[in-house]
Amino acid sequence: MRGISILDGKYAVSMDMYPLQDKKFNKIYKFYDHLKAGRFTTTQCKDCGLRSFPPRVICPECLSDNLEWVDLPTEGTIIVFSEELLGVPLGFDPPLIHAFIDLGGEMVFLSRMVNCQAGDLKKGDKVKISVFPIESVFADGRRGEVLEQERVFFGFEKVK
């Protein structure tokens, strides 16, 4: 047989590539709730005003926990991009394309580019966020039931 017999088809969360997104496992789950609605968001401090990324529970400037969710731009322009041909990790196909994206001067974001082929992109191209479903996590419930937690993730794609 192939596989690890004692795991007997069990789901090994420690081998999962994507973050746990459910409220049961983190305090920034609203990022993923917003993402499901097509919004790209982060947290901003209501005391000192600092907007930080990634979203978090404590302001890294003044340590306040008085934070609110704010929207980030969902469109930007390509500063520079990379097409990786060799050494692409499991779960991705070559060419694996990444870009530094200028999100309207708000921040520079390094993202995977989706729905595009090698040679499709050039510097200055307009891009927008693309949200897609990923595999669910299966969690053990308290009474032995199996809870399916649906998940999404995102990349950016060229504006056609």
């Binding site: 590539m17 990324f53 990634p54 520079v80 990786e84 041909l85 050494g87 990790p89 499991l90």
Partner: protein
């Protein structure tokens, strides 16, 4: 109590791809090689052990690693027995911690041993596990594990801003391979021509295979001791740790202040230069973190070996080669020795120690002050040590 601290010996396993050895095999071999380099020292004399390794839980299913290594090497530490993890800079971080413990009098003779077992029988695993190295939830989840995509873009931006060329990148690789050609421990020991480097398979343009350090199994070990013990333990010239720095200003890529000027490297190196009371031009030999050829070029600049933007010219004019301003990566660096994360900073420290003792394989004549530099994560942390024949 504040004492002078020395690096008094070192040894390593052969470094290579998919070595026929487990992690614990390699720690034993590196430790033995280190003890053999210091005939006056036995495993019974070591009062502290720091193990540097990054992927031990992931690849070897082993946490609480330091006592495992202590038991295998017959070391019974009394003052420290712990592991340090800072990915590519685990080894140099461990040396800094050993230095602090010895300098303050908490320990007298510490073995720092580090390495990495990265290859499993399944080739996909190491590439997949690399997705834990940057900010997993926010950067790596985009498929950013092994870092060629990031360094490809850093290369392109450096070329746009400063006119750096693919030929200049390739020259770093040619120098590295030449320096490693007679290093029996290096993963790649074959010299290459500029044409061969430029014709190497593309990984992520403009980076080719010869612009990227390989994935490596291997281990290295060294001894950090107070000067008083060092004088007793070895007859070789003493090499002192003179200054250190370790800095970070961002972890996630979105918070990187500048992709082609590494602010944290400037901060860390200035800390180390100031502590040592020297300036960049005082460095006679350096081992820098050439994970990619572009890295070495930016490091010349941000370490202060040349002006900003002139790193490409620096290698082209031979100023980082033997006979130049400051020979860099004299044993072949990461590009040719390979890069088992926990081992690299220790390998660099050993090479600088040998250069300053005057017994390196490829010797920089009269070198008295040396520097090591590690970059770790997605250009997140920079770690510097300065070593000298004088304190």
């Amino acid at each position: 109590m504040s004492r002078n601290v020395c690096i008094i010996g070192g040894g390593m396993t052969v470094w290579g791809a998919a070595l026929e050895a487990s992690a614990r095999d390699m720690y034993q071999e590196a430790g033995k090689a280190c003890f053999e380099d210091i005939p006056g020292l036995s495993n019974k004399d070591v009062d502290g052990l720091i193990v540097a390794s990054s992927f031990t839980e992931r690849i070897s299913f082993q946490t609480h690693l330091a006592p495992v290594v202590a038991e295998y090497l017959g070391i019974k530490p009394k003052n420290i027995c712990a592991r340090v993890e800072l990915l590519c800079a685990s080894g140099s971080s461990a040396i800094i911690m050993a230095y602090g413990l010895v300098k303050s009098g908490i320990a007298d003779v510490i073995m720092v041993v580090g390495g990495e077992k990265l290859y499993t029988p399944q080739r996909w695993e190491v590439f997949y596990s690399e997705l834990g190295t940057g900010d997993h939830d926010w950067d790596c989840v985009h498929g950013l594990g092994l870092p060629p995509p990031l360094f490809s873009m850093v290369s392109q931006l450096h070329m746009q801003r400063y006119g750096t060329t693919e030929e200049q990148l390739a020259m770093v690789s040619v120098k590295s391979r030449r320096n490693a050609a007679n290093n029996p421990k290096a993963q790649v020991q074959k010299a290459i021509t500029l044409e061969e480097a430029l014709g190497s398979p593309v990984v992520a343009a403009p980076l080719k295979l010869s612009d990227c350090c390989p994935v490596t199994d291997g281990a290295a070990a060294t001894i950090i001791a107070c000067e008083e013990k060092a004088r007793y333990l070895t007859d070789k010239p003493l090499v002192y740790i003179r200054g250190t720095g370790q800095a970070t200003v961002n972890n996630m890529s979105a918070n990187m202040p500048n992709t082609t000027t590494w602010e944290a490297l400037k901060i860390a190196s200035n800390q180390a230069y100031n502590k040592a009371g020297i300036k960049p031009s005082d460095i006679d030999v350096a081992q820098t973190h050439d994970c990619f050829t572009i890295s070495e070029i930016i490091e010349y600049e941000d370490l202060g070996f040349c002006e900003k933007g002139e790193g490409g010219l620096f290698v082209q004019e031979g100023r980082s080669d033997f006979g130049g301003d400051v020979p860099v990566n004299t044993d072949g660096g990461l590009l040719s020795c390979g890069h088992p994360f926990g081992g690299t900073g220790i390998r660099q420290g050993i090479e600088i120690m040998r250069q300053l003792r005057g017994d390196a394989t490829r010797q920089v004549e009269g070198a008295s002050t040396g520097l090591t530099h590690n970059l770790s994560g997605l250009i997140s942390v920079h770690t510097i040590l300065i070593y000298g024949r004088d304190i």
